[in-house]
Amino acid sequence: MSDFQIKKSSTVYDAIIVGSGAGGGMAAYVLANAGQKVLMLEAGQYFDPRIDAQQMKWPWESPRRGAGTTRPFGDFDASYGGWQLDGEPYTTKDKTEFEWFRSRMLGGRTNHWGRISLRMGPIDFKPTDGLTDPWPITYADVKPFYDKVDRMIGIYGTAEGIENEPDGIFMKPPKPRLNELFIKKGAEKAGVRVITGRGAVMTEEIKGNKDRAPCFYCGQCGRSCKVYGDFSSSSCLVIPAVNTGNLTVITDAMVREVITDKDGTAKGVSYVNRKDLQEYQVNAKLVILGASACESARILLNSKSSQHPNGLANNSGVVGKYLHDSTGASVSGFLPQLLDRKRYNEDGVGSVHIYSPWWLDNKKLDFPRGYHIEYGGGMRMPSYGFGGGVSTMNGMVPDRNGKMKEAGGYGASLKDDYRRFYGTGVGMAGRGTAIAREDNYCEIDPNVVDRFGIPVLRFHYKWAKEEILQAKHMQETFLSIMKEMDAVVTSKIEGPETNYGLEAPGKIIHEVGTIRMGDDPKKSALNKYCQAHDCKNLFVVDAGPFVQQGDKNATWTILALAMRTAEYILAEKKKQNI
């Protein structure tokens, strides 16, 4: 007898959720708390920030001193994953430079995300520029869910009353750091508005939540938080949902495809155990995909059957299409005013203290929509790469005696320069609206499978003229802010030959739109509740359903929509519609 065997379970769950990131975690939390028996399949390993976070470690506790050799965002970053995964390739075509960041762990990429938590606004849902597509839902439809997410998870910020930057229910925000005051002053002179940041960090207690403690300002959210002070899906959603007794989580479970009945409804999924490579099949009354926008599209496209020859939920042919990531470009340098600055602890929170929401009227610009600006700098914990720029910067400004000196050096005077320049850095990065276009897509590569035999994704993506012009505008704005704050620019000045520093698509890690929602089943995969048009007991809760991202980072909207979908599922079940 052959060794090959598919283990089938006879249990039928109320729901199977694929993926434990922002979307999967939220769906699991809502359903488990409502008494549904839920099975979650997560391709990665178990991860609990309380046990596994590398928070509070010193650089010397890492042999590579925090360098990004095995983890792109540094040795202490809470990510099991990266731009490439061993044995799980993806491909590109037509000279596409798409970069895809994946994390394989409980909580997915929410363990190490930047916690920048912005609501999409009324114009983001119903744009009027003629180039970007409207959603089938409005801000008013989503607002109650944003509100609930705010209350449940905790977010800091300030009410500003800006129309397309809707206020939330905010906890007290962290105060600005010194370099951020310089930014505020300089940006204002350059005509750019700067407001308090908005981050998923619990700066105050949440009544009745005994599992989480408020932030103690270590500035290390990227390592995830042992006291659950910030939002990770693992700590705030999945583990609490497991504790209800209604959620079962199987880790190292890589889903191949959704299995459908003869009538085309979803009946379960098949998966392979990543460790021992055993095959399994599990069943449920409904299937919810939250494997991340591109992974969920991959699962659907790989779920072919006679009922669904194009892949599941893909009668329209849109699955994989309309892929878009935020645009991004940046500038960095230092503030000579801060040379020899006084030392004190300014770690603050690990998300942004300030940012610039989009501040201009587009009518006068050569690109639609806009971008927001995130800022950085300050007296951070040294890690690999520390002081790298000092031997250039020390030739750019006069020394303590007012004399210019030769860049470079060694010895006591260089050692003194390291001290002198510490904490003077300043940088800014734009995150802008990219246009959801049919011809930017991921599809199944017919020739390539991963180590589990699952066909992999192939990306095709080209930036359009509008996105390049937006990057140009970013560069001009950043340089004028740097000038107004008397900063010295040290990064390369980017011009047309590099698309003004526009990062490769995927690089900003806000990839969305591959399973778009819409009212017309011919032009969309899902209805406005993220339910498949062609398969009523199939839902998608990650960023796949996004029609058109604004300049806002995606996660807060993923959470709100996932909650909305989960509540819709409960309501439909009550009405016995599914």
Partner: protein, 209 residues
Amino acid sequence: MNRRDSLKAIGLTALTTTVLLEACKQPATDTAAATTKTEKEAGREQWETERDEKLKSETFFTKHEMATITVLANIIIPKDGVSGSASDAKVPEFIEFIVKDMPEHQIPMRGGLKWLDIQCFNRYEKPFVEASTKEQISIVDEIAYPKKAKPEMQAGVSFFNRMRSLTASGFYTTEMGVKDIGYVGNVPNQWPGVPDDVLKQYGMENVKV
């Protein structure tokens, strides 16, 4: 939730996996292994730990190369009134590790060290480590200032840039270096904002976000 509760959460998930597999006759090897193998380093993947161990067991630089690295590192970061030297902070040992961790450093470092010895030999008929401090510095002066360096010294400049960066990385990420640079964070605390005297120093008292 305390630590034990979260551990229970793991136990729970592992247990339910077993329950799920009850129909199958084969023992659920993976789940059993997963629960007993939790001795792995918390928060690190097994392959990362294994990779570190392997790198640590290997040797890249020869004794002579390590001696040269030590001399150079101490020229770049000598002991002063505030802190010790690069070798006091075990920077050479860090460099030995990092070139194994990031193999892209290996050829430029090995070749650069060789370049330095040849330069020194052509001038003083001895390798760099055996040259006098004055002789050593005379060569370093020609490669430590990128803009001023002669074109024929460019290879040395590139090498010295790398050596300087690695030395700074290695030094300021030790307890000694962190203390020297004055990073005082990484402790649970409150963040009351920029201290008043600092606001005053920069005339920022009235800047509000």
